[in-house]
Amino acid sequence: MHDKSIPFEATIRWIKKETRDTATYALKINSREIQRTYTFKPGQFNMLYIPGIGEAPISISSSPTDHEIMHTIRIAGDVTTYISRLNAGDVIGVRGPFGSNWPLEEIEDRDLMIIAGGVGIAPLRSVIRHILMSGRRKKPTSRAPIGRKFILYGAKTPKDMIFRDEFPRYMDAFQVFLTVDKADPEEYWRGEVGLITGLLNKVSFNPLNTVVFMCGPEVMMQGMTKEMILRGVPGEKIFISMERNMNCGMGVCGHCMFGPKFVCKDGPVFRFTDIEGFLGIKEI
């Protein structure tokens, strides 16, 4: 196993601009040795490192079956701003992978509802691609999840929708529902306008048989969880991915503590009922 306290070098293979402030970066690990030992699960994150600037925790947006490690990054702080100025061929530091993952074993014979807000779709794309790829493999051994699958995604405006060009492909396996806070009058928009909770009225699903994977702004996740529970989805079947200021990634720096949880090692993906008591508390 490679040492997760020291960054390894990775080269940016290509960059795809998603929106005005977000882009996807495909990385290839430089060392063959580490290439061999590096494995991750959908939902985990890496610490991306720019020497002299610092580190930022960024979720992995590719599937473990993809050839490259992808990160979909919105410009937010110094590190992500710096990364946004890099080009293909540039080298960055990476530590990881860290954290918990989306529990794929929970969805084997159940319906899956993926709910994402803004850049929160990045860690969920890892699951989406994983499902799309396992569905394609026709080997009887690779069991593709058999339940129905939905994606509910909300963004500020249509222009802020990440992976918009990939949605048609997602429709192979998912029913996709989109909404924006505000439609752009200059652009043709066929999705909904309004809160993401509103999308729930469009979806016909069986709450008792549904597993929810959710990532987005905390207020959105709180509102959405409340709605799901009102509709009868058991709290134990709702999984949410949290954002905090991870600094070490290994549960030894204390920065990302959320109640008794270390978001970096117990999370970022939590079972809702495990953190429920702390979600509403201000400044916890």
């Binding site: 020497p51 702080g77 200021n245 549960g251 720096c253 008794p260």
Partner: protein
């Protein structure tokens, strides 16, 4: 042999034996305070001193305490602001060094980080040994082992001392961490009236005694130890009801007392610095001046890890926001972590009852009182 006895003036023999193979860290007076530092001579140990500790006060002197200390007593003093945390998880350390040039980046680990020389920690109290075992859980038993801590820890020899005179702010007995040392030591010492009772915890602890003039331990010696420790327990004034943890905190996360303590707390972080179990830290890049010569890399420096504190304003900062801007939330985070979250995370409270945070808080905030106050409706 698991127990032995030596004459009081033979303590020097043990010290000299240790000195041949170890750097020795122990209690020493610096600036009127008992700190932990390298000690070259047994006489560095402030024999017979007894400090007076209060909420936010500390006075050191021969007879400044109300406790009457037997005149022959050497280890009569209690814990000062330093804890052994400073040596196992140094306040500043280098994670790795980096260079960046047109060709790319290179990252190298500093090999001098691994200290070859063994360190003997002498005079560790039961609470400090308990604290060290808590730090082991944090740094060694997580998903990734902290290599720096691991090597420092493995190169350490622990010579504990059973407390016979507690500090005024101690409450180890209620936390079940002291005053008697039960495990986690190489050698544990009890100062009897005219000799030292030595209990051996490890092979390394036994080796120290090879060839030294030791005596048999009698039942009388053992009962003297027990009665002295019982006496010490009776002198402990403060306590926490561990049976109320963690629920007393969990049920009161919105208690008005948090706003009250926020009005007194300065958010200075002293309590986290002196606490032997507070482990929070921050890593950042330290840059060297570069670009002076064409031969030098464009950029070089090191990633440094320093102690940090949940009281720091920016501790819970993310881009575009801060999860704990108020002092109320930061004090609550600290105390809730110590007395509640820690139980969920590591199986026991994160407080060992050493009382340091009470003594060294500039405004005298007392964790035992703050907890008690959560009972008020």
């Amino acid at each position: 042999m698991t127990k032995a006895k030596i004459k009081k003036d033979h303590l020097k023999l043990i010290f000299d034996r240790l000195k041949t193979s170890h750097r020795i860290i122990g209690p020493k007076v610096e600036g009127n305070v008992i700190v932990l530092a390298e000690i070259a001579d047994l006489r560095d140990i402030p024999a017979g001193c007894k400090e007076q500790q209060g909420r936010g006060t500390y006075r050191l002197g021969k007879n400044s305490s109300q406790l009457s200390v037997a005149s022959s007593q050497i280890f009569s003093f209690s814990v000062g602001p330093d804890s052994f945390k400073r040596f196992m998880s140094p306040p500043v350390r280098e994670n790795f060094a980096f260079k960046k040039s047109k060709k790319g980046i290179s990252i190298s680990q500093n090999s001098s980080q691994v200290r070859e020389i063994s360190t003997a920690f002498i005079g560790m109290r039961a609470c400090d040994i308990a604290a060290l075992r808590l730090l082991d859980k944090v740094f060694l038993e997580g998903p990734v082992k902290d290599a720096g801590y691991d090597s420092l820890r493995r190169n350490s020899l622990i010579v504990g001392i059973n407390c016979l005179y507690p500090g005024d702010n101690c409450f180890c007995s209620s936390m079940d961490t002291g005053p008697v040392i039960r495990d986690g030591f190489d050698m544990a010492v009890t100062e009897l009236d005219d000799s030292f009772l030595l209990e051996i915890g490890t092979v390394r602890g036994r080796e120290i005694l090879n060839g030294l003039p030791i005596d048999e331990v009698s039942d009388k010696d053992l009962s003297e130890k027990v009665s002295k420790i019982e006496k010490c327990k009776k002198m402990i004034k403060k306590s926490i009801k561990v049976s109320e943890l963690p629920w007393l905190i969990y049920r009161n996360l919105e208690h008005p007392r948090w706003a009250d303590v926020a009005g007194r707390c300065l958010a200075c972080g002293n309590c986290t610095q002196v606490c032997p179990t507070c482990f929070c830290n921050s890593s950042y890049d330290n840059l060297q001046l570069s670009g002076i010569s064409k031969k030098l890399p464009e950029l070089s420096g090191a990633r440094i890890r320093t102690w940090d504190s949940c009281f720091s304003t920016n501790f819970a900062r993310v881009h575009g926001g801060n999860f704990r801007p108020s002092r109320r939330a930061r004090y609550r985070q600290w105390m809730s972590h110590k007395l509640a979250y820690w139980i969920d995370q590591f199986g026991s409270p994160g407080c060992v009852g050493c009382g340091r945070c009470i003594t060294w808080c500039p405004v005298g905030i007392d964790i035992t009182q703050e907890l008690e106050a959560l009972h008020a409706r």
